[in-house]
Amino acid sequence: MYDEVHEILYELDRSKGVLGSLVVSEDGMLIASDLKVDMDEEVVAALGATIVRRFREALSRIGGDPFIEGFIEASGGNLLFSQAGPNVLIVLTERGINIGFARLKIEEARRKIEEVLK
């Protein structure tokens, strides 16, 4: 099962501008990852889960619906988040990539991951 998720991430990471991706549980446990950059995947997983938790809190405080996806742009690159069932798919990309195109690839990967981890 985890090999299948890794295969999906590997496929996603072949998209232009994508630097790596991870699937993280709600509590920050790393389920699978495929990073092309030299970063500690456990740290990225914990950071991603913490950010998503903050996003959820923020949306609930302003009376919004549940979080489904998010995006952060920093000068070093982008972080994209997509809720995949109870887990979160986190994708690291270069700055300045086509977010619309990246989103399509992420959505495709998200659907497959949700199906595999169901």
């Binding site: 950071l47 302003i62 919004g64 995006f71 070093g76 989103r103």
Partner: protein
């Protein structure tokens, strides 16, 4: 002909900064797909707002945006020192986008599922950001 509301300010403009901020936010809120917006400082205080009556509480949104941006600035600074520029949080019916503009943050509420509402309004939001940035540069140097 559509009025170019985000046109660069007159070089000799001496009007009230608050008035320009308010005018820019009001025009942004009039755009299709945009539910409201506000300008917040780094301490989470409202600088100017255009959320419309009966909608979200500006003070609460500003405090929330201040908290979220402080958190993100801290984390990104710790990770690789790269400053945070913007973030977008989406639900299946709306989004909240936060863009850094100098020492302030522009918070925009958008209609639409996921990031689609934001994607559809990137240009409009960027134009408003440019106007605010120009005004800040002119007044703060």
């Amino acid at each position: 002909m559509k009025q170019d509301v985000y046109a660069p300010l007159d070089r000799d403009f001496t009007g009230d900064v608050q008035m320009v901020f308010k005018r820019t936010l009001d025009k942004l809120t009039e755009e299709k797909g945009i539910l409201g917006c506000l300008l917040v400082d780094c301490e989470g205080l409202v600088v100017s707002e255009s959320l419309g009556s009966g909608r979200k509480d500006p003070e609460e949104v500003a405090a929330l945006a201040g908290m979220l941006t402080n958190f993100l600035e801290h984390w990104f600074g710790e990770m690789d020192g790269s400053p945070f520029d913007q973030c977008v949080l989406s639900t299946d019916s709306s989004s909240m986008a936060i863009r850094k503009v100098g020492c302030l943050y522009l918070v925009v509420f958008l209609k639409g599922s996921g990031l689609s509402g934001y994607m559809a309004n990137i240009v409009t939001i960027s134009e408003a950001v440019a106007t605010i940035a120009m005004m800040l540069q002119r007044t703060c140097g």
